[in-house]
């Protein structure tokens, strides 16, 4: 019997959740966004970082429809956000940077109203799930004005998700909130991402962006100056530090290692070198052995996104403080 082996090739086309092309915007003659283009495939967590005034919020507000587009095009799931704005807005959920609540209503009423704004009938099961997951249950009966700042932030996230958007935009959702809420929020964001929601976020907290995002774009002066997977961005642009404990102390640094910005410590028994991106630690160690250096122990340390960010934007400042 002749067996026919049939191979089926399945081509999976991943749609872009967001596609921005040549986006431009100026305010009173000053450009805020200058010819920005990038795309976010469906299912991704994308981090848009940049210093204050880089154009991140302007970009997000153009995507959401709060700010008119100067030039260029924004498409969400294939729909043009100007011509087919009812489709795009239905598919987007936005957590704005500024806390915006309607003081006339309770959490429950406001969530029901927001679902209706998006043309989606109230789903009590989903509404209650959001209320519980975001810890809003004890405050349900309160009108918004009585809620604390942290509670208002949580409510804003519930509000952005109440119509089950396919792309969730978080514009600095954790600004000014405590550590516990930040962790809870990011866990929740990961969870909804795993369930299929694409995430676009900006944050002050670079460590969080590094942990959360599949890809990162860094904006500066209205332009995208870096756009890579988080891992690649850190790998390509950050320096690794190599710390070597030597069997015999060195009186001076060998000239062949000068290009690695070496330094000697502890009477010449510890040698520290910067390993540039693309340079293999193995080949450097081999070179050292050939030079007769005997290594007792070694340690490597890689700089993170924060250093990459500072390097690219030229922004200094304290930890967690300069990104957005």
């Amino acid at each position: 019997m002749l067996l026919h082996k049939v191979t089926t090739i399945v081509i999976v086309h991943i749609m872009n959740a967001l596609e921005i092309t040549d986006l431009y915007k100026e305010f009173a003659g000053t450009p805020a966004v200058k010819g920005l283009s990038f795309a976010i495939p469906e299912g991704e967590i994308f981090g848009l970082l940049g210093p204050n005034g880089a154009g991140k919020s302007t970009t997000i507000n153009m995507v959401a429809g709060v700010i008119r587009i100067g030039q260029g095009q924004v498409q969400a799931f294939g729909y043009d956000n100007q011509k087919e704005y009812r489709h795009t807005r239905r598919l987007l959920g936005v957590v704005h940077q500024e806390v915006v609540v309607d003081n006339f209503f309770t959490i429950d009423q406001a969530l029901e109203i927001h679902s209706g704004y998006y043309g989606v009938k109230d789903d009590p099961a989903w509404r209650n799930l959001l209320i519980d997951r975001l810890g809003l249950r004890p405050h349900l009966g309160k009108i918004m004005i009585k809620l604390s700042g942290g509670m208002k932030r949580r409510f804003m996230i519930a509000k952005a998700l109440i119509h089950r958007p396919r792309l969730l935009i978080l514009d600095e959702p954790t600004a000014g909130v405590d550590v516990e809420l930040r962790h809870g929020l990011w866990d929740f964001v990961r969870e909804i991402n795993q369930q299929g929601t694409t995430i676009l976020l900006t944050t002050h907290y670079l460590e969080e962006a590094e942990q959360m995002c599949d890809r990162i774009g860094i904006m500066h002066h209205g332009e995208m100056i870096a756009l890579e997977s988080t891992h690649e961005l850190v790998r390509k642009l950050s320096n690794r530090r190599l710390k070597l404990w030597l069997e015999e102390p060195l009186p001076s640094i060998p000239t062949e290692f000068e290009r690695f910005a070496p330094s000697l410590e502890n009477g010449g028994s510890i040698l520290q070198l910067n390993l540039p991106a693309g340079e293999s630690a193995g080949s450097l160690l081999g070179q050292m052995c050939q030079s007769g250096l005997k290594i007792r122990d070694l340690e490597t340390d890689q700089s993170g996104l924060e250093e990459v960010f500072i390097q690219l934007t030229g922004m200094g400042g304290g930890k967690n403080g300069s990104a957005a």
Binding site: V66, R86, H87, F105, G116, Y117, Y118, D123
Partner: protein, 262 residues
């Protein structure tokens, strides 16, 4: 089997929800939005109806109470329709809540109609209560009740549009109060609520014909008592034209996102 959530898009739902929210908003602060204007109008009714009503006559064949009550009703309709759209939209702009609407699929026509219908409801509700209270002070002839209802609806529609326009152009609460205190109030008082403009000497009498509110007030009164300073057709035509013009203006501003989207 777990039922799937109904996640479909209902195109009418954003409008119904915004309308419901606007009605809930004024109901939530009903002391300020309903009770206060009703008390004010009742005081007017008491002063002009109970105290002066039978002692004065500015129009032959009618007591002063019968003359003034239609004007007081339409004044309640006008003030409250304007106040509802202007305060709601301006507060949304001022406090930033408008962003919540701008990111939704609510269309400009839905936006305008939801705000307008809620404002009309508030204005007509206040007018209706004033009307019921007026039964204590005078009996009105009710010559053309349907035309009176039509004029009240035009008045509330017109001032709902004016409220939207004022809320968009206003920079702060002070500017917004200019519309109320320096435009609407003088135009109402000089538009024939408390006296027929025919008793004014010239040029005040002629100038009063330039007051757009005169046509709303006179048209409404004409429909109720059967006589007016001008013909009902003119009063209706001028009022409807102004209402349509303001609607086009408001629709243009909101469609364009003027001062709503930067």
């Amino acid at each position: 089997m777990v039922p799937q959530p109904d996640n479909r898009f209902y195109s009418w739902l954003p409008f119904v929800t915004l309308l419901r929210k606007e009605i809930l908003r004024f109901r939530r602060v009903s002391t300020q939005t309903l009770l206060a204007p009703i008390v004010t109008a009742s005081l007017y009714l008491f002063v002009f109806g109970a105290t002066l009503g039978d002692r004065l006559s500015v129009l032959e064949g009618f007591s002063y109470a019968q003359f003034v009550i239609p004007g007081l009703i339409i004044m309640g309709v006008i003030n409250n329709s304007f106040a509802n759209t202007s305060s709601s939209l301006f507060m949304s702009r001022y406090l930033g809540g408008i962003v919540d609407l701008l990111v939704t699929p609510v269309t400009p026509p839905q936006f305008i109609m939801a705000y307008t219908l809620a404002a009309m409801l508030r204005g007509l509700l206040v007018g209706s209560v004033v009307l019921v209270i007026s039964f204590l002070f005078a009996t009105l002839p009710w010559e053309y009740p349907l035309l009176a209802a039509l004029m009240a609806m035009i008045a509330s529609f017109l001032f709902a549009q004016f409220g939207l326009i004022a809320a968009i152009y206003a920079h702060n609460f002070d500017t917004l109060s200019v519309y109320t205190n320096f435009m609407i109030l003088p135009l109402i008082y000089l538009g024939g609520v408390f006296y027929p403009i025919s008793i004014l000497p010239d040029p005040w009498s002629s100038l009063s014909y330039l007051n757009p509110l005169f046509y709303l007030i006179d048209g409404f009164r004409h429909a109720i008592i059967g006589v007016g300073d001008t013909s009902f057709v003119i009063a209706f035509g001028v009022s409807a034209t102004i209402a349509a013009t303001l609607f086009v203006w408001a629709a243009w501003l909101i469609g364009k996102g003027y001062r709503l989207r930067s």
